[in-house]
Assembly symmetry: C2
Homo-oligomer: 183 residues x 2
């Protein structure tokens, strides 16, 4: 197997925003030549596959400016500085849906765009939901419509490209797999 | 259901690179207030779940500078300007693995990071692989090690967090689901 690592020769920070930052790195390739890498730094995020007692999936409809589109996703949000992913998952679930939960379990963590970004998403499954009185509220620039859909409806939303993002497609497929394994 | 759209008031282009570009948008929120969105534009990408005749999954081990890590992924790459995703999938498969295929079928397309990027990944499944003589070669700054793993090995790699990216985790789970549905 050949060596694959790239050595950083220089890092130029071009932008630091409230969500992402951008840096250009000059790297030495495995063959000794040099190249440039355009890299987005992101604090990481969580997503929650939340199931109601009658086995519906809690979804949020949200406008995504990057896509210029309204899409349907499972509740998700980015980590605050130093925040534990499990705590973040509970917070985002409450803020976006008004639900707390008695059970929250980690399923998988994955990088979303390893070609240019270090964003990692930690996916959790939440059960035994209950409405929180005086639930924490969302960021003031966040607006969502809440939906509760059956697995069949979620599969149909994927087919119709209304569910359109990786974490949600993974979560819906996860439930399909659990159902198929039970049979 | 409430209105969710955000109206663009101003777009400031901060960076345009060879892979991504960055722009800051001033937006009007549904409640009339304003906010800023940090947005990455990306040309889109393809990924290929390629299966050998003995049902192994073709993977590439690749160093990802954004992560400062070597991870295992299914073959993937970004769209050239105006390139058809199916053609791109065939090209990337050949460049990264040396394989052509008699059958290539679209499975799903998803946005990887809708919170800040417009990157979409078109996922294909390829079967009836055969080695291409004088295969097209990779970008000159790309280095990969080829692997062929069973589904069981792939699941283990996911568990050990060696497979670590959304498209690959989705593809492995897709095969698990197909297997479970057959039983």
């Amino acid at each position: 197997m050949s060596r694959l690592e790239e050595k950083t020769l220089k890092t130029e920070k071009l932008f630091s925003g409230s969500v992402i930052s951008l840096q250009i790195e000059d790297v030495e390739l495995p063959n000794g030549k040099t190249s440039k890498r355009e890299i987005i730094k992101h604090p990481g995020a969580v997503a929650v596959l939340a199931l109601t007692d009658d086995n519906k999936i809690v979804m949020v409809e949200q406008y995504r400016k990057a896509l210029e589109k309204t899409i349907v996703e499972i509740p998700a949000g980015k980590l605050e500085k130093g925040e534990d992913p499990l705590e973040c998952a509970k917070r985002e679930l409450e803020e976006e849906t008004g639900y707390g939960c008695a059970e929250m379990e980690w399923l998988i963590s994955f990088y979303t765009s390893p070609g240019f970004a270090d964003e990692i998403v930690h996916l959790y499954i939440a059960k035994e939901l209950k409405t929180v009185e005086n639930a924490a509220s969302m960021d003031e620039d966040e607006f969502v419509n809440l939906m509760e859909v059956t697995l069949e409806e979620a599969i149909e939303l994927v087919r119709n490209q209304k569910i359109y993002d990786a974490k949600t497609a993974y979560a819906v497929q996860y439930l399909q797999l659990q159902g198929a394994l039970k049979k």
